[in-house]
Amino acid sequence: MTTIQRVWRLKNTLLNLLASRCSVCGHVTYPPKMRCPVCGSRELREESLPREGEVLSYTIIRVPAKGFEDFTPLIIALIKLGDAKVLAEVVDVKPEEVSVGMRVVATVRRTAQTIDGGVPYVIKFKPLRS
């Protein structure tokens, strides 16, 4: 049950997949941090992650958290995007058709209504059909 102002604050990261790349050691981290988790450097620059990637792991949530009843069964995956990983929902696929290694591409979709009545849009992923 998030708020519309939270979604607004996160628009760059959640819609453009902005990660941080360390200028010293090269480590890429998403979500972005204020210091590099590997070397501690503060020399980080923003970098958009690729919008296509591969499912590293996934789950199908059958018992939802409050507010997500309409999105259940909910497919959540950890997706490898370039040098980083992103946790997000996977859509446009039947639960039994998701697999580790599946290629997916980012798409903008609606998510659960905020407590202040907003209808936020976030990045989700759909299968990449060749």
């Binding site: 049950m1 998030t2 939270r6 979604v7 996160l10 990261t13 959640l14 981290t29 998403y30 979500p31 941090k33 988790p37 590997v38 590293l56 792991s57 996934y58 789950t59 199908i60 949530i61 059958r62 018992v63 939802p64 958290a65 409050k66 507010g67 997500f68 009843e69 999105f71 909910l74 959540i76 995956a77 950890l78 980083a84 990983k85 992103v86 946790l87 997000a88 929902e89 639960p95 580790v100 998510t111 659960a112 936020p120 976030v122």
Partner: protein, 380 residues
């Protein structure tokens, strides 16, 4: 630093306590620990708790302290999600070891059975990253399911091998009078239980629990309070990212590994000396990741080890003689204190369930999906 001893412990039965409030549960455990310590009065109260907001209550140390007649004492709450209890123990330890106080009471308490379960499930997920994970509606079970599938696919571990942990835990817990789920179960029961977050089924997961446990810590000056003194020999906490996305490894709990190594070093104990351990098996996958990150098994090998009888009662170490989170239950912010109370009783030889003789014990308590881990080494 001064040595710190355990002068008394207290626990209430883990379960659904509709008839008891948070203060009643905490007070009952606290008074039991004070009785064991010869009715000494603590100078400070440290409370471990994660989700008292569910019962619309904060300021817990004042609430509980006043309820048990400790007006005037020092009081504070410590929070580290499901790892709050371990952190409270570490805080209590440091208050005594530093010389600030001679007598500190550590109480872990959680009251989940008050609100509809959808609210509780949402609340437990507050341990994860609200901005980048909860916005997608992922649950705590869902996050652990992601770790479980990754582990199974990386190491070629089958679901049944992990599920067998639940069978073992119910067997241990069936003998523990404090345990919430005291029925024995079969592998078939686990495999036929409903899916919560694929591949996690209901019986792969710990139950929701109410509970409270207390540990009375004292300085070396008054260790005479107990005739079989147990020492807190080492204690260490380590954090990792709350979000899974930026974890450096998905099949290894780095914070657990660091915390275990540091606490053993502090206690000057070799891992092979550990006779009993209580680990944080919120899910079967958490048992595997915990056992491997502490160093009791090689990476990817824990399920094979326990299927061959490793860690069973009498083995060194015997793990989760209480039944673990799976069977004893997981009263979130109290769990880390239960673990310490249980291991203290094992070392004293008076644990009322399955008991094995041991000189050295270890507890490992996890907050979040491995993001805040406390390890405690106890020695008699």
């Amino acid at each position: 630093m001064r040595r710190v001893y355990v002068a008394g412990v207290g626990m209430v039965n883990v379960g659904k306590h509709v008839d008891k409030s948070l203060r009643d549960l905490a007070g009952q455990a606290a008074l039991k620990a004070m009785e064991e310590a010869g009715n000494e009065v603590p100078e400070a109260l440290v409370v471990g708790n994660m989700l008292s907001s569910l019962v619309e209550q904060e300021n817990l140390a004042s609430l509980i302290g006043d309820h048990i007649g400790l007006r005037g004492a020092c009081g504070l709450k410590v929070e580290g999600a499901c790892g709050s209890g371990g952190l409270a123990l570490m805080t209590g330890y440091s208050l005594v070891a530093s010389g600030l106080f001679n007598k500190v009471l550590v109480v872990g308490v959680e009251k989940l059975f008050e609100r509809p379960s959808a609210d509780v499930i949402r609340g437990l997920a507050y341990a994860a990253d609200a901005d980048y994970e909860l916005i997608y509606g992922v649950t705590f079970s869902g996050l652990n399911a992601l770790l479980m599938r990754y582990y199974m696919s990386k190491y070629g571990v089958r679901y049944e091998e992990l599920a067998y942990w639940s069978v073992l835990m119910h067997k241990n817990g069936s003998r523990n009078p404090y345990a919430q789920l005291r029925n024995e179960i079969t592998l078939d029961d686990v495999m036929k239980s409903p899916v919560i977050a694929d591949p996690i089924r209901l019986y792969d997961s710990c139950p929701l629990s109410d509970g409270a446990a207390a540990v009375f810590l004292v300085s070396e000056d008054i260790k005479k309070l107990t005739d079989t003194p147990v020492t807190v020999a080492g204690v260490s906490n380590s954090i990792d990212s709350t979000d899974l996305s930026s974890r450096l490894e998905l099949d290894y709990l780095l914070a657990s590994s660091t915390s275990a190594r540091n606490s053993l070093k502090m206690a000057k104990v070799d891992l092979r000396e550990v006779g009993v351990a209580e680990i944080h098996d919120a899910y079967t996958i958490t048992a595997a990741l915990s056992i491997e990150s502490i160093g009791f098994a090689e990476r990817g090998k824990a399920p094979k080890a326990w299927s061959e009888g490793r860690f069973s009662p009498g083995d060194k170490p015997s793990i989760n003689l209480s039944g673990g989170l799976k069977s004893r239950g997981h009263p979130v912010g109290a769990t880390g204190v239960y673990q310490v109370a249980e291991v203290v009783m094992q070392l004293r030889g008076d644990f009322p369930g399955i008991s094995v003789p041991a000189e050295v014990g270890l507890t490992q308590n996890i907050g979040g999906a491995g993001s805040n881990v406390t390890t405690v080494v106890l020695r008699r």
